[in-house]
Symmetry: C2
Subunit: 303 residues, 2 copies
């Protein structure tokens, strides 16, 4: 397939797909969520099941406009809506879950439920973000701004594998992965850097499949060949990263928030590791973030 290099290419690609993923939207009561779902329906990216208390869903509006692609499923409470939507995903009746106006904890409780949830045993729950950054010729993916605060080596490897699979969905056959640190030096005082050295070795030995892994390197080096040159870094990832793996949630969140506020980039995010992708926007995310997150999840769930 062609590599998808921008959000407009992504939504164009999705709108041309014959089979639309069905999104179970949990508690679609707020304007931003409804706007995002409405637009994704209008653009032909998805079908939707609106799950929630009927009185709270502005059903007439959405369902009347899209009679063939919207269903409404009644739920007695937020908790019930979460359990119902997760059951739909378990039964193959929903391809994506999306959080509306419901507490993150309430939704995740249903998602992670040992009996009835959708996280297969042994799977790691993690989060991927993708950004379209003005001036770059490609989309930039990164983890983990939301779920795994301080990944172990094993978790880092699982995150790498899950994320790389997402990038392959976008047509990036051999993703360039930058292991982010504050310096390029490996030092036993900084266990992240030791993990990174191990991972670069294992990647070279082919243990992660077709990916190119480089690091430790700082954020600038991941994008800037000049910076790499000054530091004597020869990794093929330097200056060309597709995917950034951050050492901890504080640095990942700092990148996310700095890009979002100062660079005003478009962002999208989704949870991975579950049997269907979960769109779990934070309160401060915009309607367009939610819309593109639906597009990201659609791409991940596409068969």
């Amino acid at each position: 397939m062609t590599t998808i290099k921008s959000f407009s290419q992504l939504t164009d690609h999705l709108s041309l797909m014959a089979s639309k993923p069905k999104v179970a939207v949990v508690c679609p009561y707020d304007t931003d969520t409804c706007e995002a779902v409405f637009e994704a329906l209008a653009d032909g990216l998805i079908k939707a099941v609106l799950v929630g208390e009927k009185g709270k869903i502005d059903a007439t509006h959405i369902a009347a406009k899209f009679p063939d692609s919207v269903e409404i499923v009644d739920a007695a409470s937020d908790k019930d809506a979460a359990a119902t939507a997760v059951a739909l995903a378990r039964e193959g009746k929903a391809d994506i879950l999306m959080k509306g106006l419901i507490g993150t904890d309430t939704l995740l409780h249903a998602v992670l439920d040992k009996q009835n949830g959708i996280l297969p045993p042994g799977n790691l729950l993690t989060h991927i973000t993708v950004s379209e950054i003005p001036g770059l010729d490609r989309l930039i993916f990164y983890s983990d701004v939301a779920v795994i605060p301080y990944p172990t080596l094993e978790q880092r490897e699982k995150i790498l594998m899950l994320d790389a699979e997402v990038l392959r969905r976008f047509g990036i056959e051999n993703p360039k992965v930058a292991l982010i640190h504050f310096t390029e030096k490996v030092n036993p005082k900084f266990p992240n850097s030791v993990d990174y050295q191990t991972m670069v070795g294992r990647a070279q030995a082919g243990e992660y499949g077709r990916v190119t892994v480089g690091g430790p390197m700082d954020v600038k080096t991941a994008f800037d060949l000049h910076s790499a040159k000054v530091k004597g870094i020869t990794s093929p990832v330097a200056g060309h990263a597709d995917l950034l793996l951050f050492p901890n949630i504080e640095s990942a969140n700092t990148f996310y928030k700095t890009m979002s506020y100062f660079v005003e980039v478009e962002m999208a995010g989704a949870l991975l590791g579950t049997s269907v992708p979960v769109v779990l926007p934070s309160r401060a995310d915009s309607a367009s973030n939610k819309y593109f997150s639906l597009a990201l999840a659609s791409m991940i769930s596409a068969r």
Copy 2:
């Protein structure tokens, strides 16, 4: 005094000061360092002592142009140059140290030497960065991108006090300090957030003097009132931060590198805690970063 809100205001202010600080430049052999020192001399910000091997210093050029404000001190080696420059600082013959083309370790070894160094016992060595960010009406200071990787509560407090003193030099009488985290929630699982709660309490009790401390909050909230509002954060620091204290070096470095690459902001940095400020640029820093770092250090050392 007037609050200094931009780098041009800073250099204007310094150029008008009657007494110029004397900068001991250690191994001024590279173009960027020489260019920065040359420009600071030309703009009347500093005097300079060039410390290094005479054959390697392009002395004729600089000394001939500024006969009254440049001295040259010969040194036999990098190590000797570092020790000589530190001795000048100890003896009150240099007000600022600046690293040229010499290993950071070699210079820091002399700076931190128990017998002959310039870090008074009990003082914390830390690093402050200041950025001029397009669109903001003030300079933004932050720590620590370079020295203290994972500060303890006590170290955070010392960093806060040292940094706040720098901001006061810039005329910011009551600095607004954002304690950066990935969420605004205080949670015992995240010790940073617990430290922050303690610090906000102690700041309110007046233990840090005249500063306003808020957090935990994320980077965006520190600048964006809308984001704070959505999250229900009412701290007077939200949207108005002057100083960001990052939880660890990975997040501080991520902010620094992201701003430097994607926002192309002007940056300056210096080491604090020593008896004179030390300008310690990294290899990838530009000549203008080095120039403004000299200006920052001059402001810190001004009497």
